[in-house]
């Protein structure tokens, strides 16, 4: 899995392509980029609902496998969600945004040792195996492992790409290229002042950059987990593989 990459993908994509060719909703792009994990992560790590702890008995299988919710991390599901969004809303900008956001999420998640069933219902897992998948160990060990192996290099790359995309964070860019393409922003603009709407637009990159810094400090300054940026590492954690 990737951590901060999913927060930053929409900005990098918007910088590279979004401004020129087709109209894409930035909100849909962001929701799409978060979507597959929003549907699954809570059950992978577990959560408490009115005193009852809910957690998948096999987190890896649930997150990326079949039977399970692994289909959410597939290009097929991205096509399906985009199509359903288009049928329901008739908004090409939202349909394309959701499709691209979910596809980016899926493609950036094949870097770990479990990978994704890109072409579900074909259940073959495509995986690069660059860093250990450790979702089954719980949220904190997973964070420590990810930011100790090549995962942190992967996220660092996205941080650099997102910082290089800084011109799209300007107010003028937002008003010229982002707001006119999506009714959400005019709706938000009627309820909030300009500085608040801009903060919402910049929120995901704020979240991503802060999480990146925060988890790095948490893992290596506060807790001293060992760096192991070797292929498939860190090897101090039991990496999961496709079942």
């Amino acid at each position: 899995m990737s951590w901060v990459a999913h927060d930053l993908e929409p900005y990098v994509f918007q910088r590279k392509i979004g401004g020129r060719t087709i109209a894409i909703s930035f909100v849909a792009l962001t929701i799409g980029s978060w979507g597959p994990d929003m549907m699954t992560k809570w059950f992978v790590y577990g959560t408490n609902v009115v005193g009852v702890h809910l957690r998948a008995s096999d987190p890896v299988q649930f997150h990326r496998g079949w039977p399970g919710a692994g289909f959410t991390h597939s290009l097929t599901f991205a096509v399906l969600v985009g199509t359903v969004a288009y049928v329901l809303t008739r908004s090409r900008a939202w349909a394309v945004g959701l499709f691209i956001g979910m596809s980016l999420h899926t493609l950036t998640d094949i870097g770990d040792t479990v990978g994704c069933m890109l072409f579900f219902p074909w259940t073959r897992h495509f995986h690069v195996g660059a860093w250990a998948y450790a979702g089954q160990t719980g949220r904190f060990t997973d964070a420590a492992a990810y930011y100790s192996g090549l995962g942190f290099v992967w996220d660092s790359l996205w941080v650099v790409l997102a910082l290089a995309a800084w011109p799209i964070l300007r107010s003028s860019y937002f008003h010229e290229h982002i707001a006119p393409r999506d009714g959400f922003w005019s709706w938000a603009g009627r309820r909030l002042p300009d500085e608040a709407v801009l903060a919402v637009y910049r929120g995901a990159i704020f979240f991503g950059l802060c999480r990146y810094s925060g988890w790095m400090i948490w893992a290596h300054v506060r807790h001293h987990y060992a760096f192991d940026p070797t292929w498939g590492g860190p090897h101090w954690v039991d990496a999961a593989h496709p079942h």
Binding site: A196, A199, G203, F206, F207, I217, W218
Partner: protein
Amino acid sequence: MVEEVIQVDVATVAEHAQDRDRRRFDRALLRTSALYLGAGASYVAIGVFFTPFMLSWIIAFAWLLLWVWVVPAVARRLRS
């Protein structure tokens, strides 16, 4: 002669106005950047010791809105 003086004066006034606008823009940009940096630094500082803070995008968005919108708006109201 009189025309020349008037022209020079108009140019000077325009330059001063531009300078004033630029300074105002720079101050606004500096203020906005400081607010975003403050929001980020405090978010990370709290998150390192209280990790649930770092896990939720809802908290992150709320925290950012608090820093760049709510607090300045309250400060403006208190000053006026």
